[in-house]
Symmetry: C2
Subunit: 607 residues, 2 copies
Amino acid sequence: MTNSTLANSEQRTKKNVSIIPLGGLGEFGLNMMVYETEDDIIVIDTGFMLPNADMPGVDLIFPDIHYLVERKEKVRGILLTHGHEDHIGALFYVLRQLDVPVYGTQLTLAIASGRLREYNVLGKAQLNTIAPGDTVELGDFSAEFIHVTHSIPDSVAVALRTPIGVIVHTGDFKFDATPIDGKLSDIQTLARLGSEGVQLLVSDSTNAERLGQTPSERSIYDTIDNIFQRTEQKLFLCTFSSSLHRIQQFIDLANIHRRLIAVSGRSLINNVRTASELGYLNLNPDYLIDARDASMFKPHEVVILSTGSQGEPRSAMSLMALDNHPFLKVEQGDTVVISARIIPGNEKAIGNVVNHLIRRGAKIYHERNANVHVSGHGSTEDLKLMLNLLQPKFFMPMHGEYQNLVRHAELAESVGIPSDNIKVAEDGELIRLTPETCEVFGREGRSGRVLVDGKPEIELEDIVLRDRIQLSEEGILVPIVVLHSDTGDSNQQSAVSSQQEDIVTDKTLATTTQSTDSQQPTADNSSKTGLNAGQIEIISRGFVYMDKSEELIEEAKEITRNVIENLSDEQKHETETVQDEVRGALRRFFSKQMQRSPLIFPVVMRV
Amino acid sequence: MTNSTLANSEQRTKKNVSIIPLGGLGEFGLNMMVYETEDDIIVIDTGFMLPNADMPGVDLIFPDIHYLVERKEKVRGILLTHGHEDHIGALFYVLRQLDVPVYGTQLTLAIASGRLREYNVLGKAQLNTIAPGDTVELGDFSAEFIHVTHSIPDSVAVALRTPIGVIVHTGDFKFDATPIDGKLSDIQTLARLGSEGVQLLVSDSTNAERLGQTPSERSIYDTIDNIFQRTEQKLFLCTFSSSLHRIQQFIDLANIHRRLIAVSGRSLINNVRTASELGYLNLNPDYLIDARDASMFKPHEVVILSTGSQGEPRSAMSLMALDNHPFLKVEQGDTVVISARIIPGNEKAIGNVVNHLIRRGAKIYHERNANVHVSGHGSTEDLKLMLNLLQPKFFMPMHGEYQNLVRHAELAESVGIPSDNIKVAEDGELIRLTPETCEVFGREGRSGRVLVDGKPEIELEDIVLRDRIQLSEEGILVPIVVLHSDTGDSNQQSAVSSQQEDIVTDKTLATTTQSTDSQQPTADNSSKTGLNAGQIEIISRGFVYMDKSEELIEEAKEITRNVIENLSDEQKHETETVQDEVRGALRRFFSKQMQRSPLIFPVVMRV
């Protein structure tokens, strides 16, 4: 630390620091942490999250950043710890709303730039490349970047010097003693910080439930080598496009076993190109072939690197499993290695892909039956080592579901951090750090998640998502009622009748009935005109198979007609009343007849 | 074997046996196997399956039993191997369509009777209790029941003597050397059958991917004992209602640790009662309390047995996690043990429950962090032992996804079954067994799955399910067009206009517009009356938040109006044409504006 920053530190000593997790504390993904003093805000990471199966039609989830937008003049910068989407994937979304400088290592910014370009925010983005060891001054904060090992190169932790002491924010990390790129976690700097005194450690809890130390990335090498040796036909190696250490090992083994390398999948192609150009991948371009040409070589002459490890429906791997890929084919004697974590929630999708690949005669290796994957996140002993190196006064676990955070808190207690000094916080809580205390002192009302559908993205309101879930479980039913003014020509009835055949066009969807209204219009001399139910139609989707349910629907129409006829003329003029009465009657009918409750949404048309 | 059955066997030697898996070969659950000769059919097991998250609104899945219904006069009986729902859950559904005798052990039939009673088929059901060792003659088949160990007592394998030799159908099994009820798998009978010669073995593949031997059910006892010792407040033990060996251990430990036992969950209460009455559970009723009274005792005086291990939303465990249970409460210092398999696909739901329970201060044990669950299915060494005991000529794996069946086939090959004699078949295939061959010789077209929604159950057509999935991903949009005959009174327009405010009743759902049709009706003297677009309304659900999308919807209405105005009078009379044109135009509009494709279902009303 230079003298000037020391002096600066002294000026700040009377201030507090607020910490506001906008994402990643209570879930995996969506990582985003805000550190704030009276005058300044910095943000570490801007991640997104992919939706679960219980969020139909949601494509992406972003943290809600109202907190930052409302304080945009205070935000001094965004620091990125590494190039994984759960840490950088929301950057374009944030930069659209905040015009602030971004700091990250060369590889991290290179990967982030791809999406910024795609969403047209690269031009205005202020990207600042930093290297491990660099320090950046950002108002009340001074951020030092510390190299850590993870499944992607160029990952850093951040040591924040603040008015009330040092906060270390680990990002994702493990202690890999034999990293593929030879670059160790910077234990020396961490130890030095520990000696000098750390006020707060905020640390990765992803693997807090896994006992022991996470093995080195290198530990899978022999297994993959063995698979290369045993595979006589094509070999498919499937991993995340960002797992560059894994990809380096695949490349090295392909060279040893004299297989040409084909790369499939847009993100993988981009990352391999970017990482090669920047020197993060050691790849001889002479051994690279276009995946379209793979079939021109003998099966044992090629290895195909591919994405799709999570069974994503449009991925190369899923397409190949169904024999729908335009130029890649999995055949008898081929081997497929899924060298990635089977993420909870994706097991069914991955299982389906695996079943289909086996049907095509492929041999499949995945983390459940072979040592083909190792995590990039530290297990209990890595986490304890981080705690022991830094010996923080206060501790706050991040990155994980609540159970992981609690487990990490237990680990901290086991290495001697007093339980009162450990704060298990969740998204949207406001934590205040003073020289003597670290306390949750409130909630930020506007925190939460932004659900995004489609591209260009549309923010989905909760109500739309709730509707989708109810639609998917029960279907929808739309009764349409035409109310005729008394003044109308009664010949209209026959016109409707003559059209009946036309209206029933899509047998699975709609049935209709003509008006069988035998009542004479009642004379009505009040200020409102009398109204009578004319045509009644009921459409539905996702509820029952209409072809087989004609009787049911006819009955529902009769109920609708009766409801309307029993209304007073006054009530018939109140659309809301008509809707409520029809909805109520049909709800009771379907509930009694079928124990079912479709969404019922009556429409009243007047002529 | 008696002399009479031997003689019987000789008569049959010229016949073949067909094997038709109706469920359970290619998935977990839905287990149902048909064995058929020229004259006779027998069925082993009638299981159901619970749906995945990708089948919204589906409550149950049954095998398609058209094959049996079309041959109902040949069906001699249904044999049940044990009382798990994936083996007996579809019995009521099958018995509604087939009036045939059912054979099962005492406990199996007692459990099955519950659902039969619920669905009003118990009265007509012909239930025949058998015991291990019994033999039943069913036309060309003679079925001998053989005790096997599994997670539920009274489980059996079936040895079928057929015209062309013995088929052994294992059901679910493991070789537990120290079963809780002291009843070993009947290795002696299996060995004897092996010596005499087995033509075909059909064996459980559930755990074919797990190395080694499945530990004894007893192996979890010490861990649970330890948890009892360490728990100072309430203890919740959560398992499947059918895991009676597990429940016996819980009861024994509750007695040792002097805790009273409260049972929560309808199926668990029923099974505990049934099994106690029949002597399959050793339970002193004096130690049983009503779960409603649990709060009257001190926390350390009670243990609560509960269902909900899979995070089912309406289960006691889920309700407690959200503090919504009417009388049970999880509090600081309580312990919850999830003593069950975390079934793939349920991980997210279970994780959510666990997170909430931890938030309430409970300590949680589950199979990932403690030895609190052991499988009831044999692993590789159990499966090899079964193969070696029986030394079958032919082998066919059952119960599992394709990958499990293939893995089991590999195991069979590893113990010396020639690969040509191993048949990996799937649901709906017809396998023919002769003295010399075992071959797939066709497919049964009508096999498949029946998706059931609600109660009383309604069969869901695929099209309804597809609609639901599309509804959930994209939402629905219903444009409603009123076409006026030319003869109509133009004053109708103002009537519609005056109602506009009424029609917009539910802001999130509907917007409407009055007709702004400024064109004069064109004179039309053709045989058809001229039609003009009057009121146009667009409703949608699950698509966009209507409140924020007024402009978009207004634009969509204008497009609809333009489409109709550009149609010829002839076309306007063709409802299908109007629908197609409106659907096409709106589809293009939303695709271009939003890259979205909601279900669009136009309705045309004529007055």
